[in-house]
Amino acid sequence: MKKIFLIALFSLAATSLLAQHNHSSDSALSTTEINSEHSLYHLNAEWTDHRGETLSLTDFRGAPVIVVMFYGNCTDVCPILIQDAWRLYSSLEKSVQKDVNVLAVSFDTENDTPKVLQEYAEYEQLDIPGWHFMTADNANVRTLAMMLGVQYSKKSDGHFAHSNLITVLDEEGRIAQRIEGLNQPMDKATKMIESIISNKDKR
């Protein structure tokens, strides 16, 4: 009897709290929610890539960007995720590829130093122009993840539970396409990137 009472009380309590923000509980970033205000380039943060260069997201303004969040010690899922990003990148015409940047952002801010990321890039044979394996301080990495809708959380064994998401940004840093999950078809994203480039060229 006591348990039923407690459950009822609990539900009541939760409902009263939930009710206060139902009006604002829309999902953080769906692809339909796009206008100029929603550019990720509002994030004013300093990043370092695997070449040791200091970067800002706005450095990539003007052309499509592929963003993927991962961590270097991830030996199961992350290589697939990075390969997925490569699959998308390599599906583009060479003429398109040269305008596209790929940002592989690590959320393991403790271990993935620029040097570790350099080794990772070399190991994955992706130390190539246009690809940036990046890190920043924890608060900025978390902010980018929030903006993309990527969830991650460090587990007690040092590994991370995380979402598998590849995001395509348009020339203004708005989310144009999201590919959720591993080994997904890339044709929609390929077309999206090509259309962003061709629309840009028309203007």
């Binding site: 348990k3 407690l6 459950i7 009380l9 609990f10 539900s11 009541l12 309590a13 939760a14 009263s16 709290l17 939930l18 206060q20 923000h21 139902n22 009006h23 604002s24 509980s25 829309d26 999902s27 953080a28 205000e37 929603h38 550019s39 990720l40 509002h42 004013n44 301080d137 924890n138 608060a139 900025n140 978390r142 902010t143 929030m146 903006m147 969830q151 991650y152 959380s153 587990k155 007690s156 539970a161 995380h162 979402s163």
Partner: protein, 264 residues
């Protein structure tokens, strides 16, 4: 009566709590060291295994309207009229409307109606960060009770508070009369607070069903009910949410504070 099984050391001033609202001076800017330790999370991570938390510094009180206003003076991008909509819903600082910068309403009250992005940026701007969910929950459980009946009374007060949070009558920081053994005030009894990872990945599996409630109940200490309500409420937040009962306080890495002290 196994209610004390999982409780870590400290003191709760139930007498003060019972006395109702006592207005204490705002200790804005003060932070204390929370030593490393572990606690039992209500999250079903590894069954029965305590979550380890390293030492960190934490603000003794939530960030006040006055402090947040100072931040806005130096960070115009975060003023309500300028903030990009990617960083907050329309309710951002809505309680501040009609107030100009020289006339902050309730300066010693915790700032609320701030999004996660705003809270995160504020803490960064003062050399801190938002506490992680585990840090926050760990600190909240660092309380001691004189007797099982005190713990029980505290638990029922918490339940009653979480079911009737009154956003019209939030008091000044420090006014809840609740503090942990290190002097961290108001983690209960004033507002809900943002944490860095407010929506852990595993939270997707949780829902408001009897199974979840039952699992969280197994913790069986004075905090478990309140904790499960917090976890479930946080799940409905987005980083843009601006809730009238949600504010924040900042945490600091031990090394950063040490460096700061060394440079003084």
């Amino acid at each position: 009566m196994n209610i004390l099984t999982n409780i870590a050391p400290v003191k709760i001033m139930l007498a003060t709590l019972a006395a109702g609202i006592v207005l204490l001076p705002a200790m804005a800017g003060a932070q204390v060291l929370v030593p490393s330790g572990s606690f039992h999370s209500v999250m079903p991570e590894v069954k029965g295994e305590p979550v380890k938390v390293d030492s960190f510094y934490l603000d003794t009180t939530a960030v006040t309207n006055k402090k947040y206003n100072e931040f806005l003076q130096d960070h115009e991008d975060w003023q309500p009229q300028n903030i990009p909509s990617i960083f907050a819903h329309k309710g951002y600082l809505k309680s501040w409307k009609n107030a100009n910068s020289d006339d902050i309403v309730n300066p010693d009250h915790p700032v609320t109606n701030v999004s996660w992005y705003a809270a995160n940026t504020y803490c960064q701007s003062i050399g801190g960060r938002l506490p992680t969910l585990n840090e926050w929950e760990y600190s909240a459980q660092l309380m001691d009770f004189d007797s099982p009946s005190d713990a029980q009374e505290f638990a029922s007060r918490l339940m009653s508070w979480y079911s009737t949070v009154d956003n019209e009558n939030i008091g000044a920081v420090g006014s809840s009369g609740i503090e942990n053994s290190h002097g961290i005030k108001d983690q209960f009894g004033l507002i809900m607070e943002w944490v860095e990872d407010f929506k852990p990945v595993i939270a997707n599996d949780l829902s408001l069903d009897c199974g979840t409630v039952g699992r969280m109940q197994q913790l069986g200490n004075a905090y478990s009910y309140a904790a499960s309500i917090r976890y479930i409420t946080r799940m409905s937040f987005t980083p843009k949410s601006t809730n009238s009962t949600v504010g924040f306080r900042c945490a600091y890495d031990v090394e950063k504070i040490t460096e700061k002290e060394a440079s003084l």
